[in-house]
Symmetry: C2
Subunit: 343 residues, 2 copies
């Protein structure tokens, strides 16, 4: 059983088939980067259609129990996430509404400062802003996981402190192992672990560097050093792998609608294109090699289990637990039989 805390891209039946092949129990997917409310609802609707059309392979999950049920039924659970808070369009009350529509993971901001927080790419990180505090409290209440991956270090520390529930950095690596604006400094990672949070180690070459990308063993050694920093209960996998992305997709990711110029995101002017995946992870199903790789660098079976699924499952369980706002306003909303239970 394997959980990937963050993937992007255009998912297809082929991707789902490979995820099954690798025994992936759950993936948190990226439903949007810059999209506002209506476009985000469009994205959720497209995901529903995609999952419905591939219901033999995947199922949308909104609780940790859903993920376990999907795994038992031989399906990969899809956890719906957004890498930005634009879906709220500044409205605190939309947190509850999107939670009810199944969204479970939201990054406070993507590459730019917004009304919630500072970004890792801004010259000055403002720290958590007023709306950011409101949204974190509301996400706590609504059972959504706060993702701080692209958030600036100062805002990240503020958010860890502000949140009543543990939070996540779903896709990044330690800055002390590979220096990059997208990676997290040791003090941030320790604060994250101190509040029960989880880091998803990324395989994305731009934030992993050539050394730790060079072989499965090398990447697993990065994970081992991260565990030394944070402890075995706080390190997991968040590959940041993008499926079927082409230049227009990367352009949207990096430039959205916010610049007439060029922005390279985690890439650079010297190497602006798509970063090649690590040679050991050219196919989605290579994810299935990770347990062996982790055993190969000395992790015991129960440690491998925590890194590859247990830590995400524990965190999802703690955060998604209520599943629904405490002040649920639609008391008798009838649930049809869960799709998973029918399998």
């Amino acid at each position: 059983m394997l959980i990937d805390g963050l993937q992007c891209g255009h998912f297809t039946r082929d991707v789902f088939t490979e995820l099954r092949q690798a025994n992936v129990a759950a993936v948190t997917v990226t439903c949007g980067f810059w999209e506002g409310t209506v476009e985000s609802l469009d994205s959720l609707a497209r995901w529903r259609d995609l999952v419905a059309a591939n219901s033999d392979l995947v199922a949308i999950a909104t609780t940790a129990a859903d993920i376990e049920a999907a795994a038992a039924a031989g399906r990969t659970a899809i956890v719906l996430g957004f890498q930005n808070a634009n879906l709220f369009e500044g409205r605190i009350r939309f947190v509850e509404l999107f939670a009810e529509l199944g969204v479970r993971v939201i990054q406070l901001t993507y590459n730019n400062q917004n009304e919630l927080a500072g970004s890792c790419y801004e010259e000055t990180d403002s720290g958590l802003a007023r709306f950011g505090r409101e949204v974190i409290r509301e996400m706590n209440r609504a059972g959504m996981l706060v993702d701080l991956s692209h958030v600036g270090n100062r805002s990240t520390l503020d958010a860890i402190d502000c949140s009543d529930k543990p939070v996540a950095v779903t896709h990044a690596n330690p800055d002390s192992l590979f220096t990059h604006k997208r990676n997290k400094t040791d003090d941030v990672l320790k604060a994250l672990a101190g509040k029960g949070g989880v880091l998803g180690c990324a395989t994305y070459r731009n934030i992993t560097g050539d050394h730790y990308s060079s072989s499965l063993q090398s990447w697993c050694e990065m994970v081992a050093r991260t565990v030394d920093l944070m402890g075995i209960d706080h390190v997991a996998i968040g590959t940041d792998r993008s499926h079927n992305f082409t230049k227009p997709d990367y352009d949207w990711m990096r430039m959205g609608r916010w610049t007439r110029g060029v922005d390279y995101g985690a890439a650079s002017a010297a190497s602006p294109g798509k970063a090649p995946p690590p040679s050991w992870f050219t196919q989605v199903h290579h994810l299935g090699l990770l347990p062996d790789g982790l055993r190969g660098v000395g992790f015991k079976p129960n440690e491998v289990e925590k890194i590859t699924s247990g830590n995400w499952l524990r965190l999802y369980g703690e955060v998604f637990a209520d599943g629904r706002p405490a002040q649920a306003a639609t008391p008798g909303f009838v649930q049809s039989d869960p799709v998973l239970a029918l399998s």
Copy 2:
């Protein structure tokens, strides 16, 4: 027990208190006239806040069982409705999303033709348009009631025919009793009844006329003549009463953003302002007089019960029954304990 199939306006604690005083078990409220997706979500969010702040008096209901539970607990159930389809912004997939957020009644169009249907005020009623057919099928699937009150007669007939489930004219009167574009011709009312639908008789003076507004007995006689037309199982109450509306509210209702000119809606240039309520219905709690009034014109107790609540309850039960799309995409979405069950 009393159900009002359509009210508008700004609801307040005073209104809720009067509804309790009149033993009103449920009201379908108007969450929007011209609002698009985001504004409609804003409206739903405001309704949640309003209900949460008055949870001793009201509760949002999404099933007929919710209404009965609310009545048993001494609360008035709020059924969330919209008098226009603008909330979908042309997206078929948003029907399911709004259903999941608790919306249960939607009028295909308000005073103007839209992408779904023709309106009662257009010179030519196109009949049901292609998107209208799609939306009706989707509303059938999602457990939402199709409201045809302001819809043109031709489109209304098409919609009655198109819908697999019975539909409603939540607030109108027979055109043969008071001639008005907003009222429905006998053929429409018979077709509506023939498919198991329900007409909510309105008290709104502009579409009731002075004669049937002149006394409670007179209004109840209009109901009796409507029952003669449609049968006892197909006539109910839909007052169309507006709470706390002032000129800017009526301007929004009538002109929205669609004209730089003046439109009078159901009023007229000769009498453009707010129509005074019938003298016997100046206060909300006067709703409580209706059962006695109906008995006074000769209805038997079981007939009074059908008109005042049973017919809506039966229709809501048939249409809202599934409550949730058949292809529910968020299988394990955890429900907290129903508020009603705690009371």
